[in-house]
Symmetry: C2
C-alpha cells in the first residue's frame, strides 16, 4: 500500500461528535445546484422526500427554474432561512464561492459531491486545499468532497445523491465507507438482508471529516450498536487503534472490510523480519489485538454486522444447531470446522430427552441435530428438539434453521412452524440465532412478518452465517479477555549503549542477556589458551566463531568451526580461524574469537521486532529455516504485548504441533518460550525510538532450554 | 468418511441413458397415494400442473375421494392407461404391492418418496432389498426411495414433491443431488440467480439409480451443457472417473460440491504416506486430474454452473475487467489475486486509444479499468472503454460490470446504458461476461429483459463470480491440455522379487535403482577391509549403517555413523557398529554394513505411493522433515501420471520457491526431480496389486543431483 503522507495542511484537531452531529442531523436542507436535468439532483431530492425528511428542503437553481416540481432560489443569499446542511452539486471550482456565500448567511455544514479534488492530481489538490482553507476560515465543515453524502435513518435524513432504498430500514448498524460507489451497492444489499442501519456515511476525500472522525461519532451515537467500515486507507493509525479499543470497551463491535491484502511496502530491512511484515499483516495484528472483526467481502460485512446488531454479544462459544436435514448438518458441520466454531456433543440428558420426545432411533442425536423427515408427520418433534438443544447445559448459543416468508401465501404455509420455532427461543437467556440455508432476498412482507413474530434477525445463509457467528463469538471472547487484563505498565526505558557501531555478535548477546533475554553463553577470547580455558569451563562440544564488526558472513571467510570435541581441537581451530580470516579479509578489525557451547538439534524460531511507519514496533514470531520462511508461518503483534498475547501468537502458528511434541518428539516448555519472546519484546519497547529492528534468529528451543543463538540489532541511526 | 461397502445385492450393470430417459420423460403420470391431506401430494400435483406437464395426470386414492379437484381411482389396476411414470406417495411397506400391481398393468417407472429404507437400519435395508428385488423381477425402475423426485424442464415434467418454483427456467444445467432437502433450497436459488436447468434429479437412497447413472444420462442428454453435482458419497469410483473424463472430452463441465472435507479414513500405514492421504484429498486429486470443478458451497455450485452454461468454454486465461469505480477495481483485483486469475496489463495501443476516447488523465489506464465518474457526464466513455479492453490483443475474456433491472422503472433508467454494454459485446468472438457487484435476486421482469437484450447470463457478484470465472478458465485449459496429451501406455509389469521378506534397505535401494530410480550408491560389505575399499571407491566422506532386516531404528542401537573422513575412521566405525549392535540386539540377523557416500545439505522431499481402497494407487509428493509435515505442504495424484502431471504437482507445493532457488540458494534441476518422481510412480504402477505402499524419504535434491537416500516398501501381503 502506498501511504499518502499526512500533509501539514491536513493536520487538525479531531472533530467532536457534537460538531459532526450538527451536519448529520440538520433541521433544514438546501440543495445548491438543483436541476431537473441532473440525476444527482433528482436522486438527492427524491431520497430526502422518500426517506421521510420532515424539515424544509430548499432548492438553489441559477436560473430560478421550477425544479423537482418546486420553486427555487437563484442564489444562496436568497434562502429564507439558514439551512442546517447544504448539499452542493455544483462543479468543484464553484465550491469556494458557495462556501463564502454560505458563510454570509451563516451556513455551517456542507456536502460537496463534485470530484476533481485531491484524487485528481496537483491541480485538484490545490483546489481542495483552497476549499478546506476557505471552510476553516469560515468555521464551516464539509463532508467530502467527491462523495455521495449520507443516510441517517433515525433522523430521517437521506442526503444521498445516488440510487438507494428510501427509507432505509432503521437499525443499529452504523456504516462508514471510503467509497461512494460501493455504498450504492451495499445499501440495497443491507436492505435485502433485512439489516437496519443507524447511519451510512460516505467519506469521499476526507478533506475535513475522516473515517476516524466518523468512528468517534458512531462510538458516541446511541442508535449505533455495531460499526461497519469499508476502508481503503487509515491515515491516523494511533487514533484508530485508540477508538477501536474504546469501541470494544463500550460493547460496540467494529466490523471492517479493508482492501490492501497482498500489498507490501518496500521496507528497509537488514534482516528477515522486515520482509515478514506486510502492511496488511500489521493491520491484521492491530485488528486482532483491538478486537476489530476483519472480513473479506462486502457480503460478509453486511451479514456479520447484521448478526451482531440482531443478537449482540455472545455469552460463550459452544453452539448447538438444529435443522431438518442430514445434508444441512453435514454442510454446517464442515463450515463450522473450517472456521473453528465449537459444536459440543449433546449431553446425555439431552439425548435421552430427545428420544423421549420422539426423535426416531434412525436419527443420530448429535450436534448439528437433524430431526429428520419425521417432522413431516409430527412437527412438534422439531420444536421440542429445539428446546432440548437450547436447554442443554453444554450449549451457550442455539442456531435454528429458519426463513422469512416472501408473501402472504408462503406465510400461511410456514407461519405455524416458524412461530413455534420463535417460541422455542422466547424466555431463554441464551441467544437463539435464526439462520437461513441459502440466501433469499427479504421482501417488505417478510420483514414485517419477522418483526411481528418477534424474531430479532434472520441471518441469510449458513455459508456466510456460520463464519459470521464465529466472528461474533471471537469478538465477544476478546472483549471479555481484554477487560479482564490489568493495564500493562510501560517497560523500563533502556538507553542505547555507547559504541554500538563497533558491536560484535558477542556484544549484542551480552546486551540482550543483560536485559533478561536467554542467550547462549559466549566468551570472546584473545588467545588459543583462553579459548581452551573457556571451552573447558563450558563443557564440550563447543563452537568457535570469529568476532569482528567487519565480517558479516563469517562462514564464507572460514570464520566458524563447529562441534569441537576437546581442548586440542579447540586450539587447532582457534589458530585455523585466525589464519583463514587473516588471509581472506586482512583489513578486518578482529575483536577475538567467540567460544560458545555447541547445541544439538532443536526447533529454531525467528523472533523479530521491526518498526512500522504507521503502527510503530511490530513483533514477529515464526519458525526459522528457509523452507518455513517460504511457507510464511508467522504471527504478528503491535507492541506492547502481554505474555498471554505472546502465547496466543504461538497458538496461531500452524507449526505449533512441533513445539507441542509431534510424533514423539520432545515437547517444548512453552512458558519458557513465551518468557523469552516477551523479554525480547520488552527490550525493543524499552529501547523505543532507539531501535529500528531487532532480530533473534534462531531462538533455539530444546525441551525446556530456550536460547538465542544469534541476534542482530539495527539502531535508529544505523545505515540501512 | 465411512464408505458403505458395495453389497452384492446392489451390484448390477450400469443403466442405459435410454432406460433412464423413459422414467424422466413420461407421457403420462399417476400419483399413487394422492390425497388432499398430504402436502406431498398437493405439491406434486401443483408442480406438475404449474410446470406445464401436457400429459394426463391420474390420481390413485384408496377411498376414491375427489382429490386436488379431480376424480380419482381407488387402485392402480383401475387406471385407464399405463402411465409412463408412477409417483408413489404411500408408506414404504406398501411399495412392494404397488410395484406388483403396477407390473400387472405394465408400469415400468416409479418414484418412491417414502423413507425408512436403507437409511433406517437393518429392517429398512431388508425392506429396500425386497423392493429392489421385486422391481428387478418385474423389469421396473425406481428413482429413490427416500427422495423428492425430479424436474425435467425441457420435457415440462416437474415430478417434484416439495416446494419449488414451477416452471423452473429451462437451461443447460443438469443437476444431480444426493440430498432432497438441499434441492428444496437450491432450486429457488438457481431460479433467483437466473440459472436455467435441463434436469434436477434427487437420488435418495440410490437403490436402482445412482449418481453415476445420472451422470451418464446427463452426459448423453443434449439439453445439458453443464453438470452440477451435490455428492456425499461416490460408490462406483472407477466409473465416476471414466464418466468424468468422457464429460470433459465432450465439453460438458462437471461442477461438484462434495461434503467430506476434513474427514480421514483410518488407514493401515507403515510409513508417512498413508497419513498424508485423506480420502478427501484423493477426491481433490481425481477432480484435478479429470477436470472436475470442485466447489465449496451450494452458492458456488449454482454460480459456477450458471457462468459455464451462459458462457461456455473459455478460449484463454487473460481477463480484462471494466467497471465504473476505483473501489470495485481494488476489490476485483484482490479477489482475482486470491484465485490466481490473470489480469494482464493493457497494451500500449489500448491505453492510447482509451485516452483518445476521453478517459481522463486522473484515471489510471489499468486492468481492472475504472472509467471513473466521468461517465456521469459522458456515458459513451464507458462503452468505448469496454470495446477497447475487449479488443486488446492481450485480453482473451472481457468482464463488464452490469446488473439486471428489477422493474420497468428501473429498466427505464438503466436500459440505454445496459444496451450499449451488451452491444459492446456483440460480434466479438471473445467471451464477454456480464457480472454484478453484489448479489441481487433476479425478477421475472429482469430475466425477460435479459433475454430480450440478448445477454447470455448475469453472474450474480464479483465475490462468487471472480472465483467461478477462474474455475471456468481452469476447466477450459485442463480440457485442452488433456486433449493434447497422447494416451500413456501402461508401464511394464514388474514381478515381485523373491525373498522380499528378508530385504534390507540396501536391497530396496538396489531394486529401485534397477528400475531407474536414482538411489544413493550403497554397498553392503562383510568386513572392515571391504568397507574401506568401498569407501575409497566412492570418495569421502561416507556413511556406515548396519544392514539388517530385523533392525527398524538403526540409530537407536548405534547402527549409524556419519561423516567418516578417511579409511581409518571407516575401519573404526565399522567395528564400532558391529560391537554396539551386537550388544544392543544380539539376536538380529546381520547382513553386513552398508557403505554410502555422505551427502551434504539439500532439500529433502518425501515421495510416496499408497493404495487407496476406492481409487487405487495414489502418489504423494511433499517436503520432508517434521515441521513441513505439520504444515501439510503436499500434492496428490491418482496413478497413472504423466511427467507433466508430476511437474504440476511440484508447482502446487507452496514450498516450490525453495527448489527454484530461494534467497540465492541453489536452484534444483526440476526436470531431474520430475524424472525421479515419475520413475517412482512407474515402479509402483508396474508392481500393481503387489504393492500397498512405497515411500522414498528423503529424496535428496542438491542442484542437479536427485537421489533417494532411504526407502520403504510394504508389499501386499506384508503384515501391516
Amino acid at each position: 500500500m502506498t501511504i499518502t503522507p499526512e500533509r501539514a495542511a491536513d493536520r487538525r484537531d479531531p472533530l467532536t461528535a457534537q460538531r459532526l452531529h450538527s451536519l448529520l442531523a440538520p433541521e433544514s436542507i438546501a440543495i445548491i445546484g438543483a436541476s431537473d436535468k441532473s440525476a444527482w439532483s433528482q436522486l438527492t431530492f427524491k431520497n430526502l422526500r422518500d426517506g421521510g425528511f420532515t424539515g424544509n428542503i430548499h432548492l438553489v437553481n441559477r436560473r430560478g427554474a421550477t425544479t423537482h416540481g418546486q420553486a427555487t432560489y437563484t442564489s444562496v443569499g436568497e434562502l429564507p432561512e439558514v439551512p442546517g446542511l447544504a448539499v452542493v452539486l455544483t462543479s468543484g471550482t464553484a465550491v469556494p464561492s458557495v462556501l463564502d456565500d454560505g458563510a454570509k448567511l451563516g451556513i455551517s455544514n456542507f456536502i460537496v459531491l463534485a470530484g476533481g479534488f485531491s484524487e485528481g492530481g496537483a491541480q485538484g489538490q490545490a483546489l481542495q486545499d483552497h476549499v478546506v482553507a476557505t471552510a476553516r476560515a469560515n468555521g464551516q465543515l464539509i463532508l467530502g468532497p467527491n462523495n455521495l453524502g449520507f443516510v441517517n435513518t433515525w433522523g430521517k435524513v437521506s442526503a444521498f445523491s445516488h440510487f438507494t432504498p428510501a427509507p432505509m430500514l432503521t437499525g443499529g448498524v452504523g456504516l462508514l465507507s471510503q467509497s461512494g460507489a460501493l455504498a450504492i451497492f451495499l445499501l440495497p444489499f443491507l436492505q435485502s438482508r433485512d439489516v437496519g442501519i443507524s447511519h451510512a456515511i460516505t467519506l469521499g476525500n476526507e478533506a475535513m471529516i475522516s473515517v476516524t472522525d466518523g468512528l468517534e461519532y458512531l462510538l458516541h451515537d446511541e442508535n449505533t450498536k455495531v460499526i461497519a467500515l469499508y476502508v481503503e486507507q487509515i491515515r491516523d493509525c494511533a487514533r484508530f487503534a485508540d477508538l477501536a479499543g474504546r469501541a470494544r470497551e463500550a460493547g460496540k463491535p467494529i466490523v471492517m472490510f479493508k482492501v490492501g491484502r497482498g500489498k507490501t511496502a518496500a521496507r528497509v530491512a537488514a534482516a528477515h523480519t522486515g520482509a515478514l511484515v506486510g502492511d496488511d499483516r500489521v493491520i491484521d495484528a492491530v485488528c486482532r489485538q483491538q478486537g476489530v472483526i476483519r472480513v473479506e467481502s462486502m457480503e460478509d460485512l453486511a451479514v456479520t454486522a447484521g448478526l451482531l446488531d440482531g443478537y449482540g454479544e455472545m455469552p460463550g462459544h459452544r453452539v448447538g444447531f438444529v435443522t431438518g436435514s442430514g445434508a444441512m448438518c453435514a454442510l454446517i458441520s464442515e463450515k463450522a470446522d473450517a472456521v473453528s466454531l465449537t459444536l459440543p456433543e449433546l449431553s446425555a440428558e439431552t439425548v435421552a430427552a430427545l428420544r423421549e420426545d420422539g426423535l426416531p432411533e434412525s436419527a443420530t442425536a448429535q450436534n448439528p441435530l437433524d430431526v429428520t423427515g419425521v417432522v413431516a408427520v409430527d412437527p412438534s418433534i422439531m420444536y421440542k428438539a429445539q428446546r432440548r438443544v437450547l436447554n442443554d447445559p453444554d450449549v451457550d448459543i442455539a442456531v435454528f434453521n429458519s426463513q422469512l416468508p416472501q408473501s402472504k401465501e408462503h406465510a400461511a404455509m410456514s407461519s405455524a412452524m416458524a412461530e413455534e420455532t420463535i417460541l422455542s427461543a422466547a424466555g431463554s437467556d441464551k441467544p437463539v440465532i435464526m439462520m437461513g440455508f441459502l440466501p433469499v432476498e427479504s421482501t417488505e412482507f417478510g420483514r414485517q412478518w419477522r418483526r411481528q413474530m418477534g424474531m430479532a434477525h434472520l441471518v441469510e445463509s449458513y455459508d456466510r452465517g456460520v463464519p459470521a457467528l464465529a466472528r461474533a463469538i471471537w469478538w465477544s471472547q476478546r472483549r471479555r479477555d481484554l477487560a479482564a487484563v490489568d493495564p500493562v505498565a510501560p517497560p523500563a526505558v533502556i538507553a542505547r549503549p555507547e559504541g554500538t557501531g563497533d558491536w560484535t555478535e558477542a556484544d549484542i548477546g551480552a546486551f540482550l542477556g543483560g536485559h533478561g533475554v536467554p542467550y547462549v553463553p559466549a566468551t570472546v577470547v584473545g588467545s588459543a589458551d583462553e579459548a581452551v580455558a573457556a571451552a573447558d569451563g563450558m563443557g564440550y562440544p563447543v563452537v568457535l566463531k570469529i568476532a569482528s564488526r567487519d565480517i558479516a558472513h563469517k562462514t564464507d571467510v572460514g570464520g566458524v568451526r563447529l562441534d569441537l570435541a576437546d581442548g586440542e581441537e579447540v586450539r587447532a581451530a582457534h589458530n585455523d580461524i585466525l589464519a583463514r580470516v587473516g588471509a581472506a579479509q586482512p583489513a578486518a578489525l578482529i575483536s577475538g574469537i567467540t567460544v560458545s557451547p555447541m547445541r544439538g538439534r532443536g526447533t529454531e524460531l525467528l523472533v523479530g521486532v521491526v518498526r512500522d511507519p504507521d503502527w510503530g514496533l511490530v513483533l514477529v514470531v515464526g519458525f526459522g529455516g528457509v523452507l518455513v520462511e517460504v511457507l510464511r508461518d508467522t504471527a504478528l503483534r503491535v507492541l506492547p504485548v502481554s505474555r498471554d498475547e505472546v502465547r496466543s501468537m504461538l497458538d496461531e502458528l500452524r507449526g505449533i504441533e512441533v513445539l507441542r511434541g509431534f510424533r514423539g518428539g520432545e515437547a517444548a516448555d512453552l512458558d519458557a518460550v513465551v518468557e523469552a519472546v516477551h523479554r525480547i519484546a520488552l527490550v525493543a519497547e524499552g529501547l523505543g525510538d532507539g531501535v529500528e529492528e531487532l532480530e533473534i534468529n534462531p531462538l533455539l528451543v530444546q525441551g525446556d532450554r530456550v536460547e538465542a543463538l544469534d541476534a542482530l540489532i539495527r539502531w535508529s541511526d544505523s545505515p540501512s
